[in-house]
């Protein structure tokens, strides 16, 4: 159950797209929470999914749609708050949700995705479909009550859900050691009678393999799996939050950047496998894609007040609330 070469190249391309997308954000529109350093975990997991499988994500939302293969232009335009954005400029950096690829929510409420992913699993089961649902969440999110509540429900109903932890060691400034009774999130799985697996999140192939096994299990009706990918966030928690304290050492950061970059590691593997030319072609292509996307985003129009009311309800009733329009002041 390994990826073939073309799939490996696609995996590399998607990881690189995440990296370059976020570098472009930093350069052109610095908002949000970056997934740089975590690309191996994200894309490794997504490679095990079909286009019609569901995914829920987090405030650190850029990687998930790109990992799932989404078009870049609408994502970039969303970062810029434009009307051509995937969410029309209403969702923004924490909520890059491309439903055409099964993404149903990037929840900036930490832990908010657990029930939604589980609900997608329930829907799959009731509709007798063979899709699966994958829930990305952070180590910090594992302390939200919805974690145990949702996993338990998936366990009793044998729902086709993969709970996938991007354990980057920290929740803002709070380390896993300071916030978890014991440090392995996967070890909690046994309490719900389901398998828990730990994997090196910087090894995208390894991530793919454990995820594919969980997906197979889910499609076979055998229920959920909890996967914990140990990974690392290279940059600060968020581009926009000033952090007045030091909570991790420079050495630690340098070690991960230098020795444990999932993209560097994967590139070396591909090159060693004789794919140097293909790798370079991908790199050139990704650079173009990002330049185009930034231009597209810049050139796109802003949303308007009417977009607010237009996107509130599927079936508006007595709405907007006032005849005069949105404000209804005198």
């Amino acid at each position: 159950m390994s990826l073939d070469r073309s799939q490996q190249l696609e995996l590399y391309s998607r990881m690189l797209r995440i990296r370059r997308f976020e570098e472009a954000i930093v350069a052109h529109y610095p908002v949000g929470h970056l997934s740089i350093g975590q690309e191996g975990a994200i894309v490794g997991a997504c490679m095990a999914l079909r286009d019609d499988d569901y995914v829920t994500g987090t405030h650190r939302s850029h990687g998930h749609p790109i990992g799932k293969g989404a078009a870049i232009n609408p994502l970039m335009a969303e970062i810029f708050g434009k009307r051509t954005g995937i969410c029309k400029g209403l969702g923004g950096s924490m909520h890059l949700t491309d439903t055409s690829l099964g993404l149903i929510c990037e929840s900036a409420i930490v832990g908010g995705g657990f029930p939604l992913a589980t609900g997608a699993g329930l829907s799959i089961q009731v509709r007798k479909s063979d899709q699966v649902s994958l829930c990305f969440f952070g180590d910090g999110a594992a302390n939200q009550g919805t974690f145990g509540e949702s996993i338990n429900m998936a366990a009793i109903w044998k729902l086709p859900v993969i709970y996938f932890c991007e354990n980057n060691g920290y929740a803002v400034t709070t380390s896993v050691a300071a916030s978890h009774g014991q440090p392995d999130i996967a070890r909690r799985a046994d309490g719900y009678g389901i398998p828990g697996v730990i994997v090196d999140g910087q090894d995208a192939d390894a991530v793919y393999e454990v995820t594919q096994a969980a997906v197979d299990r889910a499609r076979a009706g055998e229920g959920p799996t909890l996967i914990e990918a140990k990974t690392y966030r290279f940059d600060e928690h968020s581009n926009r939050l000033a952090i007045p304290i030091r909570y991790r050492s420079d050495e630690e950061i340098a070690f991960h950047r230098n020795e444990r970059d999932p993209i560097t590691l994967y590139r070396a593997r591909l090159v060693a496998g004789g794919l140097a030319a293909e790798v370079e072609a991908i790199e050139a292509e990704v650079t173009c894609i990002m330049a185009d996307a930034v231009q597209f985003a810049k050139d796109s129009p802003e949303p308007e007040l009417s977009d607010l009311t237009d996107n509130m309800f599927s079936n508006p009733i007595n709405f907007p609330v006032t005849r005069e329009g949105i404000f209804g002041d005198a």
Partner: protein, 323 residues
């Protein structure tokens, strides 16, 4: 068939609404704790059990599971049973169900119905007796209904299940056993967002919120005996509110009493008073009167509890005060 009716209690009407919609649309499922205890046992005989889910005691998550299912092709009814538990699920209701369509620029729809019952006047004390519907009217993106008759319960629930937006229905446990003739037509719907004039009148308007309809009508009867002709508007939908019907009634009567079982401060009655003081001020001849539950918690002692909710006597007194 189309115009025939059947004698049903309020709770039976709710069960029938669920049955009819589950028959009509296989995407409709029902989730809740011990659903058989809350009236759904007969559904187990008819429907695939995969559509009837007894859930663990995990309110925030099972409500969110309903939301996730709604995003992906089902039309879940989530029974939160007792309304005091709604706070546990309010994160998923407010931060997810109400916001997801907007946040995704309209990519998603969220056809979920959350049912919950106000368990007041039932000797269950402060942690079970809340009537928290006012909290949800402040949340954009939610529809909130609170029927006071069996027909309205059936018709509003059916409309809610067919609606593509999230709807919360507040039921009233004190009405569960009340029987009346209810339409049997499977397409009988009560429109969300429309108040209902349950009694026409010209001297004063009583707007009743949720379960206050019965004392409001009783008050109107009492006053009628003295020749005072009161109009009773049953709000039915709390959000989005039917301002037109309320303003039209006040334009006619010039006098407004609002009866609401929720705590007075920040109540639905407050919102109605605000709307009328803003948009219907010129028609008002006297101060608005809110008859609501005082701002104390609900005690276990039954004699005390009973006094707290609006009674016909208090409503009559409020009308008299502005004649």
């Amino acid at each position: 068939m189309r115009n025939s009716t059947q004698k049903l209690s309020y709770l039976q009407a709710i069960v029938e609404a669920q049955r009819e919609e589950m028959r009509r649309d296989e995407r409709v499922i029902l989730m809740g704790e011990d659903i058989a205890v809350y009236g759904a046992q007969s559904l187990f005989d008819e429907f695939d059990h995969s559509r009837l889910r007894n859930v663990p005691i995990s309110e925030n998550s099972f409500t969110g599971v309903g939301v996730g299912a709604a995003l992906t092709g089902l039309r879940p009814i989530v029974d939160l049973t007792i309304a005091s538990f709604v706070y546990l699920a309010s994160d998923q209701i407010i931060n997810q169900a109400a916001k997801l369509r907007f946040m995704t620029g309209g990519q998603l729809k969220v056809p979920i119905v959350v049912r919950t019952s106000t368990f007041y006047n039932n000797r269950t004390a402060a942690q079970h007796a809340d009537r928290p519907y006012p909290l949800f009217m402040n949340i954009p993106g939610l529809k909130v209904v609170a029927p006071a008759t069996a027909s309205d319960a059936k018709g509003l629930l059916k409309a809610a299940i067919r609606d593509d937006d999230p709807v919360i229905m507040f039921e009233d446990i004190n009405l569960w056993g009340k029987k009346e003739e209810v339409p049997v037509d499977v397409d009988f719907l009560v429109p969300i967002g429309k108040a209902d004039i349950k009694r026409a009148g010209s001297d004063a308007t009583i707007v009743s919120v949720a379960g206050c309809l019965l004392p409001a009508l009783a008050a109107a009867e009492l006053l009628a005996r003295e020749g005072i002709d009161v109009e009773v508007v049953d709000l039915r939908t709390i959000a989005p509110m039917d301002k037109e019907t309320i303003l039209a009634s006040v334009a006619k009567t010039g006098r407004l009493v609002i009866a609401d079982n929720s705590h007075k401060v920040g109540s639905v009655a407050s919102e109605i008073a605000a709307v009328v003081s803003e948009e219907g001020f010129e028609s008002l001849r006297k101060p608005i009167q809110r008859v609501a539950t005082p701002s104390v918690h609900i005690p276990y002692n039954q004699a005390l509890e009973r006094q707290l909710y609006p009674t016909k006597e208090r409503i009559v007194a409020a009308v008299r005060a502005i004649l």
